[in-house]
C-alpha cells in the first residue's frame, strides 16, 4: 500500500482527468472498503427499515410495508408505552443502574491500570493482569449461579461464614437496596480487569523521557502519576467516558435478567427485560419496538451531548 500511495507523481490537469487518475490509482483501496460497507448495509442499516414496526400494527406474516398504520397517526404504541407505569420504572431503573455503574465502575480500570503500571516485578504484573481480566469471559448466567451459591441468605457460603461469627444473614440478593450493591459489585468484578487493557496500552504510548526528566527534577511516584501518567491517559479516558455516557440509557439484557429475582423486581426491571417480557414473550412487538426506538434516540442525544461537552473542554471527542 505504501508503495502505491508514494507512487503519486504526475499531476494531470482538468477535473475529469483528475478524478479518472484518482480512481485509477486508488480503486483497490475502495474495493477493500466495500466489504465492511456491505456488511454494515446488510446487517446494520437495512434492518432499520423495521423501525417502522413502532408506528404500525405488527403482523408476523406481512412485510413491514404491508402492515397497516397504528392508531393515533401511528403513535399509538408510544402513547401506550408512556402511559405504562412499568415502562417508567424500567426507565428509572435503567438510568439508576447505569449511572451507578458509571460512577462506581468507570474509575476502577483506571486505578487498576495505574497500580499495575507501578509494579516493578514484571512477571507478577503479567500474572495479575491475566487473572483480573479472566472473569470477563464468564457469562452472566454462570456469574448469577455463583452469586446464588455465595450470597443466598441461608445456603450461601458468605452468609454461612458470617453466621459462624454470629452475624445475621445479609440479604445480598433478596433486598432491593442490597441487590443494587451486589449488581454493581459483580459488574465491576467482571469487567474491571478487561477495562484496564486499553489503559495499559495507552500507558505504553507515554514518552519515558518525561518520567526521566521528572525524576531529575525530584518528582516522587505520586507526583509522576499525577503530572505525567494521568495527563497521558486523558484522551483515552475522555473517549471511553463519552462512549459510556452514550450507554447510560442503553441496557444490556443478560446481566439484569440473570441476576434478577421476584423480590427485587422494583429495582431490577430495566428496559431490556421490559422489552423481553412484553415483546418477545407477550408478542407486543410494536410496543417494544417503540420503546427500543425511544431508547436509541435518547442514547444518540446523550452521545452527542457528551461529545460536544468534551470538545468544549478542549478534547478531541470521538469524531
Amino acid at each position: 500500500m505504501d508503495a502505491m500511495l508514494g507512487a503519486q507523481t504526475a499531476r494531470p490537469s482538468g477535473k475529469g482527468k483528475k478524478f479518472l487518475n484518482y480512481t485509477q490509482r486508488y480503486w483497490t483501496l475502495y474495493l477493500l472498503l466495500l466489504l465492511p460497507v456491505v456488511y454494515f448495509f446488510i446487517f446494520r442499516y437495512s434492518p432499520m427499515a423495521y423501525i417502522l414496526i413502532a408506528f404500525k400494527k405488527y403482523s408476523i406474516v406481512q412485510s413491514v410495508w404491508e402492515m397497516p398504520w397504528a392508531a393515533n397517526n401511528g403513535f399509538e404504541h408510544f402513547i401506550k408505552a408512556f402511559s405504562n407505569r412499568d415502562f417508567f420504572y424500567a426507565l428509572r431503573n435503567t438510568i439508576m443502574l447505569n449511572m451507578l455503574d458509571l460512577v462506581a465502575g468507570f474509575p476502577m480500570p483506571v486505578i487498576l491500570a495505574l497500580l499495575l503500571n507501578e509494579l516493578a516485578f514484571k512477571r507478577f504484573k503479567r500474572v495479575t493482569q491475566t487473572i483480573v481480566y479472566m472473569p470477563h469471559f464468564l457469562s452472566w448466567i454462570i456469574i448469577s449461579g455463583l452469586a446464588l451459591q455465595l450470597f443466598a441468605p441461608t445456603s450461601g457460603l458468605v452468609n454461612i461464614a458470617l453466621g459462624k461469627f454470629g452475624v445475621e444473614p445479609v440479604p445480598f440478593l433478596n433486598d432491593p437496596a442490597h441487590w443494587v450493591g451486589t449488581y454493581i459489585f459483580l459488574g465491576i468484578w467482571r469487567d474491571m480487569g478487561w477495562g484496564t487493557i486499553i489503559y495499559l496500552a495507552a500507558l505504553t504510548g507515554i514518552n519515558p523521557e518525561l518520567y526521566e526528566a521528572a525524576s531529575v527534577d525530584g518528582a516522587g511516584r505520586f507526583r509522576k502519576i499525577w503530572n505525567i501518567t494521568l495527563p497521558g491517559l486523558r484522551p483515552t479516558i475522555i473517549v471511553l467516558l463519552i462512549m459510556n455516557l452514550g450507554r447510560v440509557l442503553g441496557s444490556e439484557f443478560d446481566r439484569p435478567y440473570a441476576l434478577k429475582n421476584n423480590l427485587v423486581s422494583s429495582v431490577s426491571n430495566v428496559i431490556s427485560t421490559f422489552v423481553y417480557t412484553n415483546g418477545i414473550r407477550g408478542q407486543q412487538f410494536s410496543l417494544t419496538t417503540a420503546v427500543g426506538l425511544f431508547q436509541s434516540v435518547v442514547c444518540v442525544i446523550f452521545l452527542l451531548a457528551a461529545n460536544a461537552l468534551a470538545e468544549k473542554f478542549g478534547e478531541r471527542g470521538i469524531w
Binding site: T28, I60, Q62, S265
Partner: protein, 560 residues
C-alpha cells in the same frame, strides 16, 4: 518489489470482489425471512377430501417438544418417531419430519419459527392466547372447514376428541377454529405430600384440617433433631417455590366461597393459578405466617423456573411437606424424588398424599381443569392441511396411541395377571422422553387404553417402582370434591392479548413478596401488589370478561 506488491494487492482486491459477489448472491436469492408477502392473510381451503392423490408421498413437518432429559434419546429421531413415520407413510402415504422445539421456551421458539416462515405444519403449544395472537395476525389456518368437510375421513380424531374438544375454541360469531384442544384423559391437578415416616416417628396422625396440618409443621420444626440429627438446622417443614400460586393452591382456594358462581369463576379466571379468585389472600396470609415462623425454605424466591435446588432438598430428605403436581414425588423413575429420597434417607422415607384443606362449607373443594390439554394448530404456511388432519387422525387411532403410550410388552410395560398394564422405565433407545410419550400423542394427555376400566386399573401402575396404593391415594385425593372447569364460549377477550407473560410475572412477584413480608406489613404488601396487577391490565380483563359474559348469558350466573 513495488510492482510485485502492486500485483498482489490487485489480485487480492479482485478475489475479494469475487467472494463478495458470490456471498451476495446467497441472501438475495431467497426472499427476506420475515416477509412471506405471497401469503394471503386468510387462506380459503380447497376441499380435498380424498387422500393425497397418486405419485410421491406428501411431506409434512410436526413440532415435537425437546425436554433435554438426562439419558434421553433424540426427540426427532428415535424408536417411537420411527414407529410414527413408518405407520403414517404406510397408511396415508405421508412423510413425516419432526421439528424439535425446547419444551421450556416453546412460545419464544414458535415466535421465531413463525416469523421466519419455518413453523412446522402441525404446531402444538400450551398457550391459547399465543395462538389467538398469531391468528389475529393472519398466521394461523382456520381448521373448521378441514375438520368439517373431511369428517368422514377423520373418524378417530372426531371419536377421540368429540365435539367438546374440537369446538372448544370455536368463535361463537365467526365459527372459526384456530386450534383444537387435546383431550385431558385424567384431571387430577395438585396434591399435598407429607413424609409418612416422620408422621410415624413423631406419632402424628395424617392431618385432616388446616389446624392439624399447621400443628404438624410446628412439630416437625420442634423435633428437627429427632428427624434429621446433625442436619437439624436444615429442616424445612413446608417447602414452596417462586411459583406460590401453584405450590400453595389448595391452601389458597380453601378460602374461596364454596358457592362461588360460574360467572365469578370465569370473570376472575384469567390467571391459571386462581390468583384473582376472591378469598385467596387469606391462604397467602397463612403461608406468610409460616414463613415468618421459620417453617418454610427461606431462599425460595431466588430460584426460578426449572431450577432443581428445591428438588434436591426434597431428595436429600430435609423437606417435611409440600404441595405440587398430584404425582410429583412419584415421577421420573430412578431419577425421581421417590427413589432418590429412599436412597438417601432410608427405605421407609416416603411421601404420602394428605387432604387437610377444607373450605368454610366443610368441603375439600378443588378447582380442576376442564378436559382440555395442549392446543394443536396449523400455521398459515401449512400447504398440506388435509394431510395434517390425516396425521392427527392416525395418532388418534387406539392401536397407534396405545403403542406410543405404553410401548412394547416386555420392554416398556408388562401385563399383570388381572390384565392391568404396568409401566417399566427403560434406558437406551426405547426410553420414553416424556411420561407415556405425551409429547408424541399430541391429541391426548394421560393413559388411555381404549377400555375405561382397564385404563384406571393400569393408571396406578404407571409409575415404575412406586407402590400403586400411593399413586391411587394421590389420584383420589386430588380429584375428590373437584369442581371441573367449564367452557365459557364468549369469543375473544381483546384485553388479554399479549398480557399473559406480563401478568404471570406480576402475579409471582406479588405472591412472593407477600409471603416474605413481615406479618404486620402483609396486608399493605399484598394489597399494593394486587393494585398494581389490576392497574397493569388485570382489571381491564375482568371488565371485558364481565361484559362478554353478560352479552351471551345475560343475568344468568351459572352455566347449567
Amino acid at each position: 518489489m513495488k510492482t510485485v506488491s502492486k500485483t498482489i494487492s490487485k489480485a487480492l482486491a479482485c478475489l475479494l470482489l469475487v467472494t463478495l459477489l458470490a456471498s451476495c448472491g446467497g441472501p438475495s436469492a431467497t426472499p427476506p425471512p420475515v416477509t412471506p408477502s405471497t401469503l394471503p392473510a386468510v387462506v380459503t381451503p380447497t376441499p380435498a377430501p380424498e387422500e393425497p392423490a397418486g405419485g410421491g408421498p406428501v411431506s409434512i413437518t410436526v413440532e415435537i417438544f425437546d425436554r433435554s432429559n438426562d439419558g434421553g434419546s433424540k426427540p426427532e429421531d428415535n424408536f417411537y418417531t420411527d414407529f410414527i413415520k413408518e405407520g403414517v407413510l404406510r397408511d396415508h402415504n405421508i412423510e413425516v419430519t419432526f421439528v424439535p422445539v425446547p419444551r421450556w421456551t416453546e412460545v419464544e421458539q414458535l415466535n421465531n419459527l413463525l416469523a421466519a416462515g419455518d413453523a412446522p405444519d402441525i404446531c402444538v403449544t400450551y398457550s391459547y392466547p399465543t395462538i389467538q395472537t398469531y391468528a389475529n395476525m393472519g398466521a394461523v389456518l382456520d381448521m373448521a372447514p378441514y375438520l368439517e368437510d373431511n369428517k368422514a375421513q377423520l373418524p378417530n380424531l372426531w371419536g377421540l376428541l368429540g365435539e367438546t374438544n374440537i369446538y372448544w375454541d370455536k368463535d361463537p360469531e365467526t365459527g372459526e377454529i384456530w386450534a383444537i384442544e387435546a383431550l385431558l384423559r385424567h384431571n387430577p391437578r395438585i396434591g399435598t405430600f407429607v413424609r409418612q415416616d416422620w408422621l410415624t416417628k413423631l406419632n402424628i396422625a395424617e392431618p385432616t384440617t388446616l389446624e392439624e396440618f399447621e400443628a404438624m409443621l410446628y412439630a416437625f420444626k420442634e423435633n428437627a433433631e429427632t428427624l434429621l440429627g446433625a442436619d437439624a438446622d436444615k429442616i424445612i417443614p413446608f417447602s414452596t417455590s417462586y411459583d406460590v400460586g401453584w405450590r400453595a393452591d389448595h391452601l389458597m382456594t380453601m378460602f374461596v366461597a364454596d358457592d362461588i358462581t360460574d360467572k365469578d369463576v370465569y370473570i376472575n379466571g384469567f390467571d391459571d393459578r386462581h390468583f384473582l379468585l376472591p378469598g385467596i389472600k387469606e391462604g397467602i396470609r397463612v403461608l406468610n405466617k409460616w414463613y415468618n415462623d421459620g417453617l418454610t425454605w427461606n431462599d425460595f424466591p431466588l430460584y426460578g423456573s426449572g431450577d432443581t435446588t428445591e428438588d434436591n432438598l426434597i431428595k436429600s430428605g430435609y423437606v417435611g411437606s409440600f404441595m405440587h403436581n398430584w404425582d410429583y414425588p412419584y415421577r421420573n423413575g430412578e431419577e425421581g424424588i421417590h427413589h432418590q429420597l429412599r436412597a438417601i434417607a432410608g427405605e421407609d422415607a416416603v411421601y404420602t398424599s394428605v387432604e387437610p384443606f377444607k373450605n368454610a362449607a366443610g368441603v375439600y373443594r378443588k378447582f380442576l381443569p376442564g378436559p382440555i390439554d395442549r392446543k394443536v394448530f396449523l400455521p398459515a404456511t401449512n400447504d398440506e392441511p388435509v394431510a395434517s388432519m390425516l396425521y392427527l387422525d392416525w395418532l388418534s387411532t387406539v392401536e397407534n396411541r396405545k403403542f406410543l403410550q405404553i410401548g412394547e410388552e416386555g420392554v416398556t410395560h408388562e401385563v399383570l395377571e388381572d390384565g392391568a398394564i404396568k409401566t417399566v422405565a427403560v434406558t437406551g433407545e426405547k426410553i420414553m422422553n416424556s411420561p407415556n410419550n405425551i409429547d408424541y400423542t399430541i391429541i391426548i394427555n394421560g393413559l388411555d387404553l381404549g377400555d375405561p376400566e382397564l385404563t384406571m386399573d393400569s393408571y396406578a401402575y404407571n409409575y415404575s417402582g412406586v407402590d400403586a396404593s400411593l399413586v391411587q391415594k394421590g389420584y383420589e385425593i386430588s380429584i375428590n370434591d373437584g369442581r371441573i372447569g367449564k367452557n365459557v364460549q364468549v369469543g375473544q377477550i381483546t384485553a388479554e392479548e399479549g398480557m399473559g407473560p406480563v401478568l404471570t410475572e406480576k402475579r409471582d412477584i406479588v405472591l412472593d413478596q407477600a409471603v416474605i413480608a413481615p406479618v404486620d406489613q402483609f396486608d399493605a404488601v399484598f394489597d399494593a401488589g394486587m393494585q398494581d396487577y389490576l392497574a397493569s391490565g388485570g382489571q381491564a380483563i375482568i371488565d371485558e370478561r364481565t361484559a362478554a359474559w353478560e352479552k351471551v348469558f345475560g343475568d344468568a350466573v351459572s352455566l347449567d
